[in-house]
């Protein structure tokens, strides 16, 4: 069995982990995985899909870099009778163009993070700063929306500054530094919401260097649950993270197996759990578990 996998790229540790897991899952099941890295470009993914079709693979996995623009190529795959499974991000094409989608709900993730903050504060006044992902990327848009939905109606929580940190540690640190300067050395800030853990890790260092205690003076909540954030949580420097599991391929392969065996159509959306981790969840242990997963 040959399956083509079009991955977005390797822009973050999380994605590297997803790639690693997909490859190891394929190996376990004896699948010949054709891997194509699109280097963050949709056009490359479309090319990859077309080449998979030309090559005549049995199925295609794709982690689409953006939601729009897949109709034509998915149609082509359909005509060639190759089932397509979407991983971790959605497309806005009609759902009969793909077999199923495995992923988490990005809005929901933001929502979980926001909800945690609301609960944690319990009505205390709080100024929040936000580190957004790459401007225009769907996780950045959705995680922002989800978070805002959660804090909506809680007048004690105010989002005072929001800038993009491009999902990277360096930018996370740089932007946090400027937030601290702009908000009275950080005294004005009570919580940080970062669209991914990497930015949070960078920001935590900035907070420390400004002479404040992350996790206490400024609460830190972020998304992804990569190993490094658990280390920070273990040290009391981060408060909460929402897990986005990198194992999207497992459920995808299961669905494909069933489909090939007897044509069972899986559900159109297989949602993975968006689990919330806090300092109470023995972060050190989770860190040990996660650190060798290829993050």
């Amino acid at each position: 069995q040959t399956i083509g996998f079009s991955q977005i790229g390797s822009e973050s540790g999380w994605r590297a982990a997803e790639t690693t897991l997909t490859k190891s899952q394929a190996e376990e099941r004896g699948i010949d995985l054709k891997f194509a890295d699109a280097q963050q470009k949709q056009e490359n993914q479309i090319k990859a899909l077309r080449s998979f079709i030309a090559q005549g693979v049995d199925a295609i996995l794709i982690a689409p870099v953006v939601a729009t623009g897949w109709d034509a190529v998915l149609q082509e795959a359909k005509e060639a009778e190759i089932p397509v499974v979407l991983l971790d991000r959605m497309v806005d094409s009609s759902d009969d163009l793909y077999l199923t989608a495995v992923g988490s709900d990005l809005v929901h993730e933001g929502n979980v993070a926001g909800q945690w903050l609301v609960d944690e504060l319990g009505g205390k006044d709080c100024n929040v700063v936000e580190l957004q992902g790459t401007t225009g990327s769907s996780p950045a848009i959705d995680r922002k929306n989800g978070f805002e939905q959660a804090i909506n109606g809680h007048d004690n929580i105010k989002l005072i500054r929001s800038q993009t940190g491009d999902f990277t540690r360096t930018k996370g640190k740089e932007v946090m530094e400027s937030f601290l300067k702009a908000e009275d050395g950080g005294k004005n800030i009570c919580a940080l919401y970062a669209h991914n853990d990497d930015m949070a890790v960078g920001a935590i260092q900035a907070i420390k260097e400004a002479g404040l205690k992350p996790g206490e003076d400024i609460l830190v909540v972020s998304i992804d649950a990569v190993p490094d954030i658990f280390q920070a949580m273990a040290a009391g420097e981060a408060n909460a993270t929402v897990e986005l599991t990198p194992n999207m391929a497992g459920p995808a392969f299961d669905a494909l197996d069933a489909y090939f065996k007897d044509g069972t159509k899986p559900a159109k959306f297989i949602q993975t759990e968006s689990k919330l981790y806090t300092q109470n969840d023995d972060p050190q242990k989770v860190y040990e578990e996660k650190k060798d997963l290829g993050y």
Partner: protein, 341 residues
């Protein structure tokens, strides 16, 4: 005109621009110039500019020399990533600080050597020659880190990112020292003039007996060295090597810094100090945007507008006494007269 006066006149446009940008920020953000001492180190937005501008400043040093020879080095961002990855790998493998730094610097030198050989021996055009390493280099860096962020906790290495010396953040010390050192080397010896000569007219320089091949290699190696320092700083700053994002698109900022510093992309006369001021101007713009609190989708438009204004104000046509609107052709030809092909 004395040497100092000539020098001041050379960097005046850059200084004025920098002052203007800083003034603009402090209007929008009144507390901008507040500097205090926290944890034994200077703390404040101007310090942030110096500190955050370190990678671009370092890259700009090497880039200035490369551009002076009429070349360009697109690979510096990727080389940063490689060297950052090497240093993180070295320290997590348990090598001591000295060997780790040595390995990272050697990696940078090797990258520079590769570029230099492609340009000078194989005669490949610089932009393409370095494009190869720009593409492949990030792959090499990821190969070292295996795609993940390679985190480390060695306090000695971290010191290069967030430590401080004489209350100045370490990155600031590094770029200032490197900048002065290379300026000193280049201007105290005949290197500066030889580099300019090669950049203006390679053929004539070779015919005058200059060893232009070695010189070309040397500037790319220097650029690799500077990129290595920048890479180490970037990794030490976030206590991890982020092969995917370290130095991403920084080559463009570095080139921009050199151009704002008044060095022509056609090679020739250069000024390292002016390039460094150029780097600070860019970082001031970036920091200013962050402090301003605009929504991020406007960042690029604002940046583009400011760059355009800076460049227009500094453009040679305007500098030759606003003669442009009256008699465009005169300034035109009279100036280009000196350009050989």
């Amino acid at each position: 005109m004395s040497g100092t006066a000539r020098f001041l006149r050379r960097i005046a446009p850059q200084l004025i621009t920098l002052a203007f940008v800083l003034a603009l920020i402090s209007v929008m953000f009144p507390g901008f110039f507040n500097i205090s001492i926290a944890n034994g180190r200077l703390y404040g937005s101007p310090i942030d500019i110096l500190n955050r501008g370190a990678p671009v400043a370092l890259l700009a040093i090497g880039m200035t020399l490369v551009i002076a020879t009429r070349g360009i080095d697109l690979s510096v961002g990727a080389v940063m990533a490689i060297c950052g990855a090497v240093s993180a790998w070295g320290i997590t493998q348990g090598y001591d600080l000295g060997s780790t730094l040595l390995m990272a610097v050697v990696a940078g030198l090797v990258c520079g050597l590769w570029n230099g050989i492609l340009v000078s021996f194989l005669g490949i055009q610089p932009i393409v020659a370095t494009l190869i390493l720009m593409v492949a280099g990030r792959g090499i860096a990821q190969l070292i880190t295996e795609g993940a962020i390679l985190t480390f906790n060695d306090p000695n290495l971290i010191f290069f990112g967030s430590g401080s010396l004489f209350t100045l953040p370490m990155p600031v010390v590094i770029w200032i020292v490197t900048g002065l050192l290379i300026t000193w080397i280049v201007r105290r010896t005949a290197l500066g003039m030889l580099i300019e000569s090669v950049g203006i007219n390679l053929r004539a320089s070779t015919l005058a007996g200059i060893n232009s091949r070695v010189l070309l290699i040397a500037v790319y190696v220097t650029s690799g060295f500077c990129a290595a320092l920048a890479g180490i700083i970037a990794a030490a700053d976030i206590r991890g090597a982020d092969a995917n994002n370290a130095g991403l698109w920084l080559e463009l900022d570095a080139i921009l810094a050199v151009v704002i510093g008044g060095t022509s992309l056609l090679g020739g006369r250069f000024s390292l100090i002016a390039s460094l001021i150029g780097a600070m101007i860019i970082q001031a713009v970036n920091t200013g945007i962050l402090l301003s609190g605009f929504p991020p989708e406007f960042n690029l438009v604002i940046k583009a507008a400011i760059i355009l204004i800076i460049l227009v104000v500094q453009s040679p046509a305007l500098r030759t006494g606003m003669a442009f609107f009256r008699k465009p052709r005169q300034t035109d030809v009279a100036k280009k007269e000196t350009v050989t092909q």
